[in-house]
Symmetry: C2
Subunit: 271 residues, 2 copies
């Protein structure tokens, strides 16, 4: 089967949901795709001193707020699922979340498990666990940015059946793109890393986001790697069923070959 | 602290333990190193039609056989620990194993957990689990070749405290070297992949071993990558205590940040 997947790489503007909606609307004009992945925190931008400053630019996961409702409208026009990162507000608590939106509204919400660095000052760590949803018979999992460094994140999604990992990101370290190739190979899944570009400064923090949004396939091939610092939309067609076959060769099935009886996945000194 | 580590990349000769001992002896002459890692199946070479054909070139893990006793002699001369891959015989059963040898004899033996392709026709899958041994206060873990594709292998060793992963290999796929960079980053460990070179043919099997033996450090830096097809010994000095610090930054400890309560590490359909 053919599935058309797209990623949007852009520079979210801090403290302006409206500008971010406009940027996304413009980038999405005329696009045809079944699944579109946007960067992490696309509604809010990244650097805030404290949660209180970020709160006005966050919204709830019900799809009723200004940012998510605008994205649901786009999803209606394109007839696609959109996965976007966004600052989520749940009463007074903030999460760094990703949500899958269909023309009918929110499908499922994921709250980032592994917060990176200063994010720990702004967000609560995620409590949702790793979630897989089905869309037109295709299973899609979500993880966010720094989750890449923990092999258990992508592994959890793949073991739950995800064929495609939608991976909104705001990357500042240079390692993730190569690591996602390994994530694809070890789990035989597609990955779509939608990264942002640009710089943000706050006090003595000065971040350069690395772009190079990327799509990898179950064989580990890099099907697309974007530019470092240019906003871009990229669309490719894949067969998501390629991710159903976990056989590397007739003798090795990467899931069935796992030896849970021999693994030791708790740190020794914690035992 | 300083530790001098070496890897030997060479072409084991099939069906001649004697030639392999000679090649290793010659390569090791005059070397000074605290830890030396050799390729997988350094005593036997790789391709055999059936276990019965390989059996004469295998030996027990007691260090008394011709290959391991010759390596213990080398270890006495250099005053080092040698980790080598070898075909192990336990009564009538063969394992694809790695053993750590000190001047006093065998320290610990590891039987390859994840057998690759045709290896399943020759060897029993390993039953030893992932083993970490201590040498002069440094903790060292062993895994073999195809174990690289399972993140649980390196993860198990790192969680048990391994600072250095000794990784004998006979690689034919092109993905491992990059993946080991990710293994280093995600576990903040050193890795030493000692790969072989050359080709082997048997019936319609025709294998090209990929060389490019490699040393990576906890930051993910490639400290050495060898040639594709030349025998070589490479020695570098590292501080193994760099691998004790699992902090990526003051906010993120890659072990303490793990969320075992949220991971789902059993395949859904198997539950």
């Amino acid at each position: 089967m053919d599935l058309t997947i797209a990623l949007l790489q852009f520079k979210p503007t801090r403290k302006s949901i409206e500008k971010n909606i406009q940027k996304i609307q413009r980038a999405m004009e005329g696009i045809k795709a079944d699944l579109i992945v946007l960067p992490e925190l696309s509604n809010s931008g990244y650097l805030y001193e404290k949660a209180e400053d970020l709160k006005p630019f966050s919204e709830e996961n019900d799809g009723q707020g200004p940012f998510l409702s605008a994205l649901i409208d786009i999803s209606k026009t394109i007839e696609s699922v959109i996965v976007t990162g966004y600052a989520e507000k749940d009463r007074s608590i903030l999460y760094n979340s990703a949500i899958a939106l269909s023309p009918q509204g929110p499908i499922t919400n994921y709250r980032k498990t592994h917060l990176y660095d200063h994010e720990k000052m702004l967000f609560h760590p995620g409590d949702s666990g790793f979630k897989v949803f089905e869309w037109n018979t295709v299973k899609i999992g979500m993880m966010i940015c720094f989750d890449w460094i923990f092999p258990e994140a992508c592994r959890s999604l793949a073991l739950e059946g995800a064929q495609i990992i939608a991976h909104p990101a705001n990357l500042v370290l240079p390692y993730c793109q190569n690591a996602m190739v390994t994530r694809s190979i070890e789990n035989r899944v597609f990955t779509i890393t939608a990264n942002r570009i640009g710089t943000e400064k706050l006090g003595d923090m000065n971040l350069n986001f690395t772009g190079m949004s990327q799509i990898t396939d179950p064989s580990g091939a890099i099907r697309y790697r974007g530019p470092k610092d240019k906003a871009t939309v990229h669309i490719i067609t894949i067969d998501p069923n390629d991710a159903l076959d976990k056989n590397l060769n007739p003798q090795n099935n990467l899931f069935k070959d796992r030896r849970l009886d021999l693994y030791q996945l708790v740190e020794s000194r914690e035992q």
